[in-house]
């Protein structure tokens, strides 16, 4: 079993209450807290001040790699064993655009998925308190903290309108 991260876990039923709590946490200068939700929500994103994910860099690099792979593969293989077929040039761009395009989409897509996995793994969720209702109809906020600080966070959550607050060991 992974070690449990000590902290306070709050469940919210109302979106505005959850946003208030997030803003209050940010006003206190806290970072490193986690917000759980069943679906993406623009209000939560605005409250969190989320920046655009760098996953697009993976897409770009994957796509460019695909185009170059398509170009390199077709030209190299054509010139490696030069065989005239149907009187056409040995290596030529127009028919090879198909390969460049297909490999751009293929490698670009796979790189995008790899990007999500790599970037998500940078912020591991192991050991953090979670409640199955967060994938249903509740918004969850987990703040890693202990002792007096935890009581302060709990009070703040209750004032914001949380329906349930509990301490994780």
């Amino acid at each position: 079993m992974a070690r449990t991260v000590p902290g306070v876990l709050a469940a919210f039923e109302h979106i505005d209450a959850a946003c208030d709590a997030i803003q209050a946490l940010r006003a206190q200068g806290r970072s490193g807290f986690t917000v759980y939700s069943a679906a993406p929500n623009h209000e939560l994103e605005a409250a969190l001040g989320i920046e655009t994910s760098p996953v697009r860099l993976f897409t770009l690099i994957g796509g460019v790699t695909g185009v170059l792979a398509g170009l390199g593969m077709t030209f190299w293989m054509s010139l490696d064993w030069p065989l005239v077929v149907g009187g056409k040039p040995i290596a030529t761009v127009p028919p090879y655009v198909v390969f460049m395009f297909e490999l751009m989409v293929l490698i670009g897509s796979l790189a995008t998925v790899a990007g999500v996995i790599i970037l998500s793994a940078r912020t591991p969720t192991t050991g953090m308190a979670y409640d199955p209702r967060f994938s249903d109809d509740r918004i969850g906020i987990f703040v890693p903290c202990t002792g007096e600080e935890a009581s302060k966070v709990e009070r703040m959550f209750r004032e914001a309108g949380s329906v349930e607050v509990r301490h994780a060991a």
Binding site: T92, V113, V116, S120, S135, D137
Partner: protein, 449 residues
């Protein structure tokens, strides 16, 4: 079945009801489902047995005779690739256009895409004769260092279909992850553990959503031109040749429109019984069927125009071979195929101008069958009639499909249905998280965002 009872453009359930209703569709199956699955497996076994006979005795068993060496197998290949197109159109293109109606139906159509392309992928292998040498199409270093001919449309096809299968499967799996985690959290015991394994540790954290949303957008942006490219490449298998009736510049848009038309037809055939069987009538409503039918009308009308243009250009070209080919399609020995194609595609699609037809489930289901039949015949007519009667009248010979052709065709429907049925009971067929995105969350204070 009469007109559809619900008329909602927005989901009316709460978040919890959405999770509960969709997760309840998973798991234990009834007798009707098992009968359908049994039927699908039986059909697949007929196809598998036919394939064993083909391996043993060769393609002579199928109706392959000079000059028509492409017939039912290539027809069925193009048919299944086409079916796949509606799924990606609905899941990726309509996502970029922010069409709200796609949400309730896109998961089922995306699954349909993956299984249809999986089915299509079998056909080039079945068709090539010496099936055990299929890997010759791949660019691998063989002992003589000879590479594939990259100027051949058939090699383009290998890359297009391979990419399409990989990317559409990736897109489906990525969309499934948050929904599988919802199933994990609602289920108990070993089921929760199994779904937990497939949810890949998804918890819906702000960080996960941040990367996921961007990735989904870029995947949709990559899949969008892919849909248009795949059937264009398939159409070039024909259009790059000089066979009369094939050598047309309109082939790419003509095939893409036809593919989406046939795909939406199959979506209707699958979803109408599915929503009833899984008790999802309140989620997939009149609004969705109306829009699906409008999509059918649009693509069917493009197809109508393409047919008219094809005949017009055939006549206007002044080329005897083109004129003869198109004349024979409607009045030659394959007139039944030609008219089936024109009636089922060009004319049937025009019935969707009427709202009463678009919102009547019985009518939609029956017409969707016509679309499926019509689109199979379209490919059969294009392929078989052009090859059977090309430039040399002394070499003309009509194509006669045999039991080996029909056995494989039946097997392909069994294979496709088997995977779709298994999917429908194992994974959420409605995208839980995207539906929830459309339902506003409750507020403490009055007023909206």
């Amino acid at each position: 079945m009469a007109a559809i009872a619900h008329d909602t453009t927005h989901p009316t359930q709460t978040h919890h009801e959405v999770t509960r209703d969709v997760v309840n569709t998973l798991g234990t199956a009834g007798r009707g489902y098992m009968l359908l699955l049994g039927g699908a497996v039986f059909m697949f076994l007929i196809g598998a047995l036919t394939f064993v006979m083909l391996l043993k005795d060769g393609l002579g068993l199928a109706g392959y005779n000079p000059p028509a060496f492409w017939s039912v197998y290539i027809t069925t290949f193009v048919f299944w690739v086409g079916i796949g197109h509606a799924g990606t159109l609905i899941s990726a293109i309509l996502f970029l256009f922010r069409s709200p109606w796609r949400t309730a139906v896109y998961r089922a159509t995306e699954a349909m895409t993956v299984f249809a392309v999986m089915t299509a992928g079998l056909f080039p292998i079945i068709h090539i004769g010496r099936q055990w040498f299929f890997y010759w199409l791949l660019p691998y270093p063989n002992q003589r260092w000879i590479w594939p001919n990259f100027k051949s449309p058939l090699v383009w096809d290998v890359f297009a279909i391979g990419t399409y299968l990989t990317v559409s499967t990736t897109f489906l799996c990525v969309g499934l992850v948050p929904d599988i985690s919802a199933a994990r959290d609602l289920m108990k015991g070993w089921r929760s553990k199994v779904y937990g394994f497939f949810s890949l540790g998804w918890r819906g954290t702000d960080n996960q959503w941040r990367h996921y949303n961007r990735a989904y957008l870029y995947l949709a942006a990559l899949a969008t031109p892919l849909v248009l490219s795949v059937h264009s490449v398939v159409s070039w298998d024909f259009a790059m040749s000089i066979v009369p009736g094939w050598h047309g510049t309109i082939f790419a848009p003509y095939f893409v429109a036809g593919a989406i038309y046939s795909g939406v037809g199959m979506v209707l055939t699958l979803i109408i019984p599915l929503r009833k069987a899984l008790k999802l009538e309140h989620m997939i409503t009149e609004y969705h069927f109306d829009n699906l039918a409008k999509l059918t009308l649009l693509t069917g009308s493009i197809l109508f125009y393409a047919y008219a243009m094809e005949y017009f250009i055939g006549w206007y070209s002044g080329n005897t071979f083109e004129q003869t080919t198109f004349w024979r399609r409607l009045f030659g020995p394959m007139w039944w195929g030609g008219w089936t194609m024109v009636v089922c595609n060009a004319f049937v699609s025009q019935l969707f101008w009427f709202r009463k037809v678009r919102t009547n489930l019985t009518a939609l289901f029956v017409l969707s069958i016509f679309i499926n039949v019509g689109m199979w015949f379209e490919r059969y007519v294009i392929i078989a009639s052009s090859l059977a009667n090309d430039y040399l009248p002394y070499a003309w010979h009509q194509m006669r499909p045999t039991w080996a052709d029909w056995g494989i065709l039946l097997g392909s429907f069994g294979w496709f249905s088997m995977w779709f049925l298994l999917f429908a009971r194992t994974f959420p067929v409605v995208a839980i998280q995207e539906i929830k995105e459309q339902i506003p969350m409750p507020r403490l204070r009055k007023g909206g965002h």
